[in-house]
């Protein structure tokens, strides 16, 4: 789960061309690419899209090797489906793996170049309720991650992973139980501090984004990929 930590770091610390584009243009690009990946049945188109996405990842100064290592995870799950599709067609399994891989790259490109808070703020325009839960979960994730890492480190010294499997499960359960009770305490304190500060069911994002030429270029690139996939052929 360290990916979320690194993704957050990449999206907030880097200042490249793609990072400085608006959330709106990057979301449009992401949706265009995602729909073209989902609708196409062309291996050549998918290979071309993967090349474009890898180039954008490189331009955005993101660690390509690490991202390709992360890609093993969705590719592994795609291969479970690919194995299940072997009997029906020889092309379909390869399409499934390439689709899983390319959509993973598009998701990683979006979240590694756009801070979570900006995406949540954008989503909160559609549902403030969900936006609040997303924002708080994201915030608490880092609070708890630190707590869990410290506890795991100290418990490892005292034999967290024992040779006795049942004892290991008991240790893990006690660890989670401990973290859970601590997290409930933190959440109660957090609620009280929200009330003191006059929380009225909405979080605000004050940073304003300005739409520029680079945003137009990103949107046109996305639309171009979508149009190209239409030329190559769509199937619902």
């Amino acid at each position: 789960m360290s990916e979320i930590f690194l993704i957050d770091y990449f999206s907030t610390s880097k200042k490249t061309f793609y990072h400085s584009a608006t959330t709106f243009s990057k979301l449009i690009f992401f949706l265009c690419v995602l729909f073209s990946i989902l609708l196409t049945q062309s291996l050549i188109f998918l290979s071309l899209t993967i090349t474009i996405l890898l180039a954008l990842i490189k331009i955005s100064d993101l660690p390509l090797t690490k991202i390709l290592k992360w890609a093993l995870y969705p590719t592994f799950f795609a291969s479970i489906f690919a194995i299940s599709q072997l009997s029906s067609s020889s092309l379909l399994p390869l399409l499934s793996i390439l689709k899983g891989f390319s959509s993973f790259l598009s998701v990683i490109l979006l979240f590694s170049t756009t801070p979570y808070t900006k995406i949540f703020y954008f989503l909160s325009k559609f549902s403030g309720f969900l936006g609040n839960v997303l924002f708080l979960t994201y915030r608490f994730f880092f609070v708890l991650l630190n707590d869990v890492e410290n506890r795991i480190r100290s418990l490892k010294v005292r034999g967290l992973y024992s040779a006795n499997k049942l004892q290991t499960l008991k240790n893990i359960s006690n660890l989670i139980g401990h973290v859970f009770l601590n997290s409930i305490e933190i959440s109660e304190k957090f609620y009280n501090s929200l009330m003191i500060r006059g929380f009225k069911g909405k979080f605000y994002h004050l940073e304003k984004e300005s739409f520029g030429l680079k945003d137009l270029a990103i949107i046109f690139l996305g639309l171009g990929i979508l149009a190209l996939s239409g030329v190559v052929g769509w199937t619902l």
Binding site: G100, S127, N132, V133, F141
Partner: protein, 214 residues
């Protein structure tokens, strides 16, 4: 059971239906829950804990996700919100496709929902919280394995039609038997481990802060 189905495997109508159902339910719930600010930090904290628990290695090709525990602790309504949020955040790092968030929400919520009702039912029959939460958790997780296999089964469209518009054959696009034979043993093993852990956590909460349990 939480299967990370990647994008592009399931047909568009199926994942769109998944989004339709889960977002429709969330919309209805948002009217009911939007003023329940007091639960907001607790739900978010449990969602964050679910995300973190998935990173604790168990030495097997599966991980715990605490969905059944969230069902017992959050109840049927808030556990849906938590399931959606967790799946959306997981998809943001490639753990499951972004198009499958709706379907995965339904799968994870079904675990939470089943464990909540089973836990409430068994609680009337016996007093051992480890046993009732473990049994509730195992049954709920086993049911969700069935749900995942059912989703894959109903996703089957004609492969020839999928590739060439005008050919009609009756062959399966995804072999449900092959898929089920890969997923079921791993899923059942994971369900067994998770139900024991859930039982132990519930016992721990029962000993230290019983008022948190329903």
């Amino acid at each position: 059971m939480h299967i990370h189905i990647p994008d592009g495997v399931l047909p568009v109508w199926l994942w769109l239906s998944g989004y339709g159902i889960s977002l429709g339910l969330l919309l209805l719930l948002s009217f009911k829950l939007k003023n329940d600010w007091k639960s907001l930090p607790k739900v978010s904290m449990i969602s964050a804990l679910m995300l973190i628990s998935m990173s604790i290695p168990l030495g097997i090709p599966t991980h715990i996700n605490l969905s059944t525990l969230s069902g017992i602790l959050l109840g049927p309504y808030w556990s849906l919100v938590s399931s959606f949020v967790v799946n959306l955040l997981l998809a943001s790092m490639g753990h499951g496709g972004i198009t499958i968030v709706g379907l995965n929400t339904i799968v994870v919520w079904s675990e939470a929902l089943a464990s909540y009702f089973l836990f409430s039912f068994f609680k009337k029959l016996m007093k051992n919280y480890f046993v009732i939460s473990s049994i509730s958790s195992f049954i709920a997780l086993t049911l969700s394995i069935g749900l995942v296999v059912s989703i894959v089964a109903i996703s089957n469209v004609n492969p020839a039609e999928f590739l060439h518009h005008h050919v009609h054959q009756t062959k399966e696009r995804i072999s449900v038997i092959t898929f089920a034979s890969i997923v079921t043993p791993i899923g059942l093993y994971g369900a067994f481990i998770e139900s024991i852990i859930t039982g132990m956590i519930v016992s721990y909460i029962r000993r230290t802060k019983p008022n948190l349990l329903p």
